[in-house]
Symmetry: C2
Subunit: 477 residues, 2 copies
């Protein structure tokens, strides 16, 4: 790794973080003064300050007035992670629509003072809005007839080429010709799922799973089998291997990186094995990789698509979690199902909007995307730690919290006695929303779980809201 001068403070901070994690330095212990740190490490005073600021922002240390810096947090002292899921062993007809509409629609476009932990993405205020607007202006200037005509069915070529290039970061080398654009990631999932199933078919998903996938499956007349899922390693592959022939599974739909809602990131080995299983039974895997770019570690995780030699994997993603949700720009890399996806796209919407596609293509082409992602990842990592700490502090003993290494959601398991849909309704009176666990399953499960998005930067309002939530939980447990 190349170390440039402006990364020196990060290197120093990393070292201190490791000492905290290994408990060489314990919670409550005083850190060396800034002057001392500067001397010890042979760095400037300002670099030493920066290192401490960085650790403070992450919530790992705190400064006490006229006294210095103290260790306040150790991620190894975090509460237990949530349980491994054990969904009922049969496929179910879908029916959580109404609860989802209650969670998402009762406030959309109305309440303004809402503290919203329900939407799994960063708020528009921390996205590069002005730079995107410039990209739109550029698109208007360069598109024929200012973009009023149809885009080609497959999508804007500049955008597709750039999406192809992004695959380099996860160890593949796709080209624009492999990509089909869509009206956001949900539309990409809709096209992909429609291409590989017909009404009445059964698909496999995680348990808990993204409610949007289940709603989508319902709309397409599909049955859904929930696969037991581990909060750290992901899908139970041995279980899946037996379930596919037994339940005549036609396709799997999984979020393999920084899973929504559980947070896990499947290991490279598990991803390879998953692809092997898919190929063995000659079925399709729809891989929703919408969070893959939001990693907290040093490297981007690979995808199942990275190991997809025969085109069984349809990789879906978008820029909605990282750049401009309102632009509705998403895509699928559908492998052997490309012609089918194109035919369905033609039937559903003929083409996707010209201007927003061209604008995102331009933004990626000039290299702004990677630059923006770097900052966004740093922010989200810090926010993840701050939210985790607050939840640990405000929520009752016995609360279990996931430890995602990317993405923007936490999965929380409360004592069995707490019903989080009731909690949701009470929280709403305090202008707070989140996702109750029940909406992440077709079965009557996860009633004591909830999903909290940490997309919004930590501030007093967030802190107050989490404290209030904690009080409500304590009353109910």
């Amino acid at each position: 790794m190349i170390k440039t001068a402006d990364h020196l403070y990060l290197q120093v901070a990393d070292n201190i973080e490791q000492l905290i994690e290994k408990e060489v330095m314990k919670i409550g212990e005083k850190l060396p003064s800034v002057r001392m740190l500067s001397k010890q490490q042979g760095i400037s005073l300002s670099t030493a300050f920066q290192a401490y600021y960085h650790l403070e922002a992450k919530g790992l240390i705190e400064s006490r007035p006229k006294s210095g810096y103290y260790i306040r947090f150790n991620s190894h002292r975090m509460p237990a992670i949530p349980s491994i899921s054990s969904p009922v062993k049969k496929s179910c007809e879908v029916s959580v629509t109404e609860m989802v509409m209650q969670v998402f629609n009762r406030y959309r476009g109305t309440a303004n003072n809402l503290v919203d932990f329900s939407i799994a993405m960063p708020p528009a205020t921390i996205l590069p809005a002005a730079k995107m607007a410039k990209a739109v202006t550029h698109a208007l200037r360069t598109l024929p007839n200012y973009g009023v005509g149809y885009e080609p069915l497959q999508g804007n070529l500049t955008l597709r080429t750039q999406i192809g290039r992004l695959s380099l970061s996860w160890g593949a080398a796709y080209t624009g010709d492999d990509v089909v654009t869509a009206n956001g990631c949900m539309d990409a999932l809709t096209l992909s799922l429609s291409a590989v199933t017909k009404p009445g078919d059964t698909i496999a998903i995680e348990s808990p799973a993204y409610h949007g996938s289940m709603q989508l499956a319902e709309g397409l007349g599909l049955k859904v089998l929930e696969i037991p899922t581990h909060p750290v390693t992901g899908i139970d592959l041995a279980y899946l291997d037996k379930a596919i022939p037994k339940h005549k599974i036609r396709a799997c739909l999984f979020v393999t990186n920084f899973n929504n809602p559980m947070g896990f990131c499947m290991s490279e080995q598990n991803k390879k094995e998953l692809v092997d299983i898919i190929v063995k039974y000659d079925i399709a895997l729809i891989e929703d990789d919408i969070y893959g770019d939001l990693y907290f570690g040093k490297h981007r995780p690979v995808n199942c698509k990275t190991f997809d030699k025969h085109g069984h994997v349809l990789l879906c993603s978008s820029i909605s979690k990282s750049l401009a949700p309102g632009y509705r720009v998403g895509w699928t890399i559908p492998g052997r199902y490309k012609d089918k996806v194109l035919a369905i796209k033609h039937n559903h919407s003929i083409s996707t909007a010209s201007i927003t596609q061209a604008a995102v293509g331009h933004f990626l082409e000039i290299g702004r995307y990677e630059f923006h992602l770097k900052n966004l990842r740093k922010m989200l990592h810090t926010q993840c730690l701050r939210y985790s700490q607050a939840l640990q502090e405000y929520f009752p003993e016995g609360t279990k919290i996931s430890r995602p290494e990317g993405g923007c959601v936490l999965w929380i398991e409360l004592p069995e006695s707490v019903n989080t849909f009731e909690l949701f309704q009470q929280a709403l009176k305090h202008q707070i929303t989140f996702c109750p666990g029940r909406i992440f399953s077709l079965q009557n499960k996860y009633n004591n779980c909830l999903r909290i998005s940490f997309g919004t930067p930590y501030n007093k309002q967030v802190d107050d809201a989490l404290r209030t939530l904690g009080k409500l939980v304590r009353k109910m447990s």
Copy 2:
């Protein structure tokens, strides 16, 4: 009707047109000189010239050098209109996908010198592209965070309000609250059809019917019953009335104004009766009104939705035929099915693109839309007449041609011996495309029909292409 000075020439031209239609003046007859006309009518010389120019542009008269103006065309001398359809009396599984993909995809984004009669809309070159670009810039300036955040699920409020106002022109008074925006009209049809059916259901469509509707139905696992259709009066209502209970029809999907492909506009009385039938059986009518604004007469036709007292009609439309197809802005006014439509929109794509919606909303708000439509309608009417005349001239005796009073397509019936899919393949070698009739039915019908779009302004290239098509037809018949 208020007559302003700049409409005087139109009034004079209209009068002459009526004399031609009533055969008071016959084909080949010489018209009064410009000087004489000016004297007779008490108008200026330049107004008299304008009136003749207008009639010449419409192809009704021609100027012969050093001789004057002569009558060259009478729409009453047009060839016969196509036959009333008599589709097989059973519902069918859909299966014309491949032919449609061949017609639309073999050239998309590749050939540039193609004379394209296949796409039912005006080309981007005659749309108000630069003014739309200004509307986009306005949208960027006024949207919060430059539009990078999500729109409300139901759609941009300014746009919805303006769409509500458009309903005044067809005798209704809907508000923004009644409207749900979509990613173009196809997406509006997808949402609407999904809301009122489930896989395995049967729907009724015209025969011939828009291929996109049939493809869509296939994708949603629906069965389709084709209803006999008259080329002037539209759907056979007596037939429909019996078919609904017999075939357990769940919904009808009709293009009631300037039908695609047949061109008919159902009368007010028939529209009323259609709504009565729908209400009697308590089923849904999806009314595709995408061509309603492109009327050639003095008044916009009403919709079935105009007579929809109990919310059984889902009216779908867009600005793709008149303003900016590439923007993908459409809508549905779904009546009693609004909640269902919103739930499905949430599942399919969460929301529609912010910027293009806001831009179209602004364009409508400042009154530019009606102004633009006025010119577009005039152009399309002229083009319709010019194309009809050319077809009459170049195609063999016995060719039947529809006489639409709006929209942008002609439906042509050739001698039984001509297979228009073969004709399509031969025409492609001459860089000419159109829609073969076969793709407008699920049954093995309309093999001797074709649809020609007259969206492209008449010019030498168009004339040559129609002449070539005529030659190919003559060889085959």
